[in-house]
Symmetry: C2
Subunit: 238 residues, 2 copies
């Protein structure tokens, strides 16, 4: 996968026939397939057929499928939002909610963003956005990077659970619950917790819960950094 592809400016040639397609059209067609039938349904054949062309014509616009998926991800996450950089807590909360919303709109992005891959302008823009909300909080550079990693990881996890429970109905009537009923003796805490969790909150509840815990932990770090009073020992230590 050529790393510069997402950043290169493509100068259109003068000679020869006009290209009948654009990268945007191709990406949109692929996006539509992924949104409706999943990432596995996105093949060169399929995308080209939806556009009314043969699959090999796409290779005039793209070096390979990896670049197509990268473009899809870039377009799916979209331009970074502009959040209120005044209040770091409000900004990060807003940022996380928007990130989760993007994941929920395009669940296949999770599959497309596992493993090493080059990052595009939009993805870096999202990082930039969250980082700029952390200036002046007293956190070091790596701490700021690690902070947005925790938030992004949480959004990913919740989105993954949401995708899992969407395909298998009401989440607790799934095969996991079935197998849990049969082996409830082997997993007592799990069985009890699942029963207790069946009554209250759904996915949104789970997301805000974890988000608040993370933000609380960040607030704790900032206050103990600003006022290094060794009162309740060991919290930020290793």
């Amino acid at each position: 996968m050529s790393s510069e592809f997402l950043w290169a400016v493509r100068a259109q040639p003068t000679r020869g026939p006009k290209p009948a397609l654009t990268l945007d059209q191709i990406t949109d067609a692929a996006l539509a397939v992924a949104d409706s039938e999943g990432l596995a349904a996105v093949s060169m054949q399929r995308v080209a057929a939806d556009l009314g062309f043969t699959k090999m014509s796409l290779y005039r616009y793209l070096p390979g499928k990896a670049e197509l998926v990268a473009l899809m991800v870039e377009k799916a996450v979209g331009a970074p939002p502009d959040v209120d950089t005044g209040d770091w807590r409000h900004a990060l909360r807003d940022w996380s909610h928007r990130l989760l919303a993007a994941y929920l709109r395009h669940p296949w992005v999770l599959e497309a963003t596992v493993g090493p891959r080059p990052l595009g302008p939009n993805e870096l823009g999202w990082m930039e956005c969250a980082l700029s909300a952390l200036t002046g909080t007293g956190l070091s550079g790596s701490e700021r990077l690690d902070t947005i990693a925790v938030l992004a990881g949480h959004a990913r996890m919740i989105a993954q659970q949401a995708a899992a429970s969407r395909t298998s109905e009401t989440q607790l009537t799934t095969a996991v619950a079935t197998v849990l009923r049969e082996h409830a003796d082997r997993f007592p805490a799990l069985a009890e917790t699942a029963a207790a969790a069946a009554v209250d909150g759904g996915r949104d509840q789970a997301f805000t819960f974890g988000l608040d815990r993370i933000l609380d932990g960040l607030a704790t770090l900032m206050t103990t950094k600003r006022v290094p009073s060794p009162s309740h020992g060991g919290a930020p230590s290793a």
Copy 2:
């Protein structure tokens, strides 16, 4: 993917020739391929060839490749650890570290565990293990489930970053840094933060940072639940 496959007890038949293979041998062979060459290198052909058989013989033991991958995941994460259930903080920290270690030992598990899939005994055992450490903390059922989701999401995210930086050398000399140097004006906070983060800690630092923030946030919730003093308002609210 048959959901019962990971849980079914397979009674060996009496008639006919003895099977030359076992599920364990097949899983081990596939695991060796994934560990050394990645999950993409795991094909029926390859695994069977490594065992000295044809690929179709594997279908006598497995319904399909999805079940093979599920078995690989089960064996890769391994039996759940037994952590000290007395101190929830120590227990969850230990649990998270062990989970991250498993992800680092078998980075392909991240790819294999995206999207909806049936859970095996070991995976449920890990959940059970973490949940049992949260009994008596005053958290509700869904809160306990959400807690381990946050921790698992964090471990996943760090493992993903580690896998990314392992393939591309020293993490900051990669193409991301190159593109960042060229477009530093578009991402000022990112450029500055990356420069500041290049000096201090590595991956282990990032993991413990997020872990401590999450645990701090949980501690804050527990204390405010036990002592519902409305002092610094809004922390655990929505």
